[in-house]
Amino acid sequence: LLRGRKGRKQAAERKFGIVLSSWGANHCAPKFFCAQVHALRLTLMWDLCTNALDTAKSRGASYGDVRVMHLRQRDLTTKNGQVGTLAQSESIGMGIRVLANGAWGFASTDRLTREGVASCAAKAVSIAKASALAKRGDVVLAPEKAYIDSWQSPFRKDPFEMPLETQLALLLAADAEMRKVKGVTLTETSMQFRKIDSWFASSSGSRIHQRKVISGCGIGATSFQSGEIQKRSYPNSFGGQHALEGYELIESLELLKHAPRVAEEAAALHSAAQCPEKFGTLILVGNQLGLQIHESIGHPIELDRVLGQEANFAGTSFLTLDQLNQLKYASSIVNVVADARLDHGQGLGTFAYDDEGVPAQCTDIIKDGKFRGYLSNRETAHLVGLERSSGTMRTESWNRLPIIRMTNVSLLPGTWDFDELIADTQDGILMDTNRSWSIDDRRYQFQFSTEIAWEIKSGKKVRMLKNPSYSGITTEFWNSCDAICKFDHWTLWGTPNCGKGQPMQTMGTGHGAAPSRFRNVRIGTAFSKQ
């Protein structure tokens, strides 16, 4: 196979420079030509992968896998009616992971030539052999079939093929709507688009190509008055909503419709009452509950944390191996899954295969309140009695090692209508849109604050509250959940900025959530003067 393609590959390299350089983001050739380029590009990528794996094997690797990744990103922001960031970037390179002498080595390069790739593979093997100088046992991988597949995430409108003017015009219009509101001192908007192609090949015979298109946007209004800064954001804080979708996501969020409300709430917060300090009933809307899930369920179930592999940086977990199938994590109405399949939705944790070549799966994490499962990989699965990885190895880019990451860790919908939930609450506080988040390094004790809250009295929202916050112990909090809204109110929220690993990797994760109610929660601690 390789020999037959050699001539075409050399011709293509001559024509296109370093690996098909005409594959430019903004220079779309006629479709026929693009198809030819695409076919050649695929061939070249697999040739490079094979070259790397062959070199690794000849240097003594017992296993190897390779990821060639091409990442494209566009960032647009505005501030106070002016364009802020306007940038586009692309990055292409290869990461090679090998086992030699029973230990791991990883090397990466942006030199996508036969020589560059071979040198990188040789380096990965040398690093693995150095690792073996201080290993505590040989790495054993759970078996996995070889797959030959190609997958593309579904999208209707490619954000990279749309006029930039349209995208900027929407942001500037939303920015202008917010600036119309008296008392607003800072307006900000943003859009981000990513297109990621990855080619995965393993010495077990897998050849998997995946293409993902990710979109995100958000707006925010800030108001400074009388020594106080208040902010409101939509549809979420810290960059808004992000999903594995095309520009249709942006259109569905109706930024212009929400911009005036966001700005008015930011200004109104100054005259709102301070959130009281008490133990009481708390209702969280989906965007805040998504982050609560992320921090107090998603991270503790990562098996690398549980096993101490992240002890120096991200921390460990209270979910020690003896807790599996024993711990009553939550009340019996709580069901949580880690689901990377497209069936679950187009979240930031959706894919066809993880970066270890394992197909996307759905894993029960909490079933009827009981703790049922971890996020695992091929190296750790056997430690929790699994015959196979749960498929959660993910990498930020070609120059990073895949590590265990959340996929879409979601709270499954309940039975309540949102209006019924409010009507059923005699005395409570409804909190919306995260402002700060913090949890200890074993994921017991957390504190969150939100941008805004509403006091609920006798089944009605009665007044706005400022500076809301709540805190608690993870399992006590989840066991206090007594109502979850139904699917009509459920959204698969995207968290685009989850940091983990050394060197640090940023990853997008998905969290499905609907508004939910929690009893006897400690409220107001962040602003306590006690």
Binding site: N26, L86, S108, A122, K135, A311, D440, R442, S471, A526
Partner: protein
């Protein structure tokens, strides 16, 4: 403020494939190529950044290496200007076709927006004060060298019945920039870092150091410190939340005060999102507090020029508790009638500038003297997951981590369960009682700074966790 005198790590010279950064002349040639190509595309002005990084990191846990990685990459980032508009495009493909595509992408982005009334012409040639932060011993460190040091640290943990996890990293990077007005600037540096968390169930402790010169790192000394403190941290007792006298080690001070850096940006004040808004020139902090931004400080690292190629200047930010000055990019300086200080981010961006080389003035009390002077208080090794609760009062929340100790009658008497804090940094800097000499500190929440250990009264712990 002295680095350790003993040299503990030396490269073996057995590196199987020495990774070398490209010579400066190659970067200059690359920049000239982009400027030449840009001329023919209609760009009125062009700026090019070239960044190259070669890093390696050995990671260990459960007393053995479990991850071991290396990366080498170079990016070219191009900003063009056309008709009063600017935008940036970045690539890591270096052939002329790709560079031309990237120039065109930048121009296409620029043309898609309205005119920017604050956009200034690119600066011309500048003069830079040289700094030398490239140490060939660090650049030459091999995976085997790191593995051996890790092995010794893990062997110590095994001997003590403990479990060690951490990293040993080393690497080199360089940046060069040039523009169509003749500006050219280049800088390279090396970096190395050793960090260790030692666990003695159910406790843990931590030590970390970072330096351009790997010979000044002493991994074994750090391993011994983490091991001893982990042992001391066993049998932690629970104390009630409340206000405590605290002695914050430099890493704790760094990770907390690092959150102040953007408040000193002129753009942040103009946007009314800085805690210094309406507070400049007032006695905001205690008299003991003075703060500068100084890239030339011997314990600092980083390039002596900013994202537009303007030379960085030393700026006195806080003088005896009074915020005196801000840092300025060219645009924010023009808007406020000041001179740029060389702290601008690469354009275009909405954040303007920030001081990235903070240096706090210190005192002359050692950590041991601070403990000896304390009747009752808490000694804090490090802080974790710090986030901003109130941006104007600068209330931060977070946890203590990896060793919280009770101090009674001038000595450490035991370990304490970890607390959550909700503490205003402004109030904290009014309540500083004693400071140690400032050192180069490294943590996990903020970039490296030069800070002292601090003894602070009435530090607010709001809740306690389970360990």
């Amino acid at each position: 403020m002295k680095m350790a005198a003993t040299a503990k790590i030396r490269p073996s010279g057995k590196s199987f494939e020495k990774t070398e950064l490209r010579p400066e002349r190659e970067l200059r040639k690359l920049i000239e190529t982009v400027l030449r190509l840009a001329k023919s595309t209609g760009a009125e002005e062009t700026e090019v950044h070239v960044d190259e990084v070669a890093e390696a990191l050995t990671r260990f846990a459960n007393n053995g290496i479990h991850q071991n990685v290396s990366e080498h990459g170079l990016t070219v980032s191009i900003r063009t200007v056309a008709e009063g508009r600017t935008a940036r495009a970045t690539t890591n493909r270096l052939d002329e076709d790709s560079l031309r595509s990237t120039i065109e992408a930048s121009l296409s982005l620029a043309h898609s927006q309205p005119k920017d009334p604050r956009l200034l012409p690119m600066p011309g040639k500048q003069r830079y004060r040289p700094v030398n932060r490239f140490i060939r011993h660090t650049a030459a460190l091999a995976p085997e060298d790191r593995a051996r040091a890790v092995r010794r640290a893990c062997d110590l943990a095994v001997k003590k019945g403990q479990v060690a996890a951490g990293i040993f990293s080393s690497g080199q990077s360089q940046t060069a920039m040039g523009n169509s007005h003749g500006l050219f600037a280049a800088y390279r540096e090396t970096h190395s870092q050793f960090s260790i968390t030692t666990q003695e169930d159910p406790a843990a402790s931590w030590a970390k150091a970072n330096s351009a010169d790997v010979r000044t790192l002493d991994p074994q000394k750090l391993a011994e410190r983490a091991s001893e403190k982990a042992h001391q941290a066993v049998n932690a007792k629970e104390l009630a939340p409340g206000r405590y006298m605290v002695i914050l080690e430099p890493a704790a001070v760094l990770d907390l005060l690092g959150f102040l850096f953007y408040d000193f940006a002129a753009t942040a004040v103009e946007d009314k999102r800085s805690c210094l808004n309406e507070r400049l020139g007032k006695q905001l902090f205690g008299q003991k507090i003075s703060l500068s931004d100084d890239v030339f400080h011997p314990l600092q690292q980083g390039a002596p020029f900013d994202g537009e190629g303007i030379p960085r200047q030393k700026v006195l930010l806080v003088d005896r508790g009074v915020p005196k000055n801000l840092v300025y990019s060219r645009a924010s300086a023009k808007a406020t009638g000041k001179k740029p200080t060389g702290h601008g981010f690469p354009l275009p961006n909405e954040y303007g500038e920030a001081p990235m080389n903070l240096v706090f003035s210190g005192g002359d009390f050692s950590l041991e003297k601070m403990v000896a002077s304390t009747d009752r208080g808490l000694l804090v090794t490090r802080l974790w997951y710090i986030r901003e609760v109130d941006p104007y009062e600068k209330v931060m929340t977070g946890m203590t981590r990896d060793g919280l100790f009770l101090v009674e009658n001038g000595r450490v008497t035991g370990a304490v369960r970890n607390f959550r804090f909700n503490q205003s940094l402004i109030e904290m800097l009014r309540n500083v009682e004693l400071m140690s000499p400032a050192v180069r500190a490294t943590g996990e929440e903020s970039f490296e700074m030069v800070v002292p250990a601090m003894k602070v009264r009435d530090f607010h712990f709001s809740e306690v966790t389970k360990f």
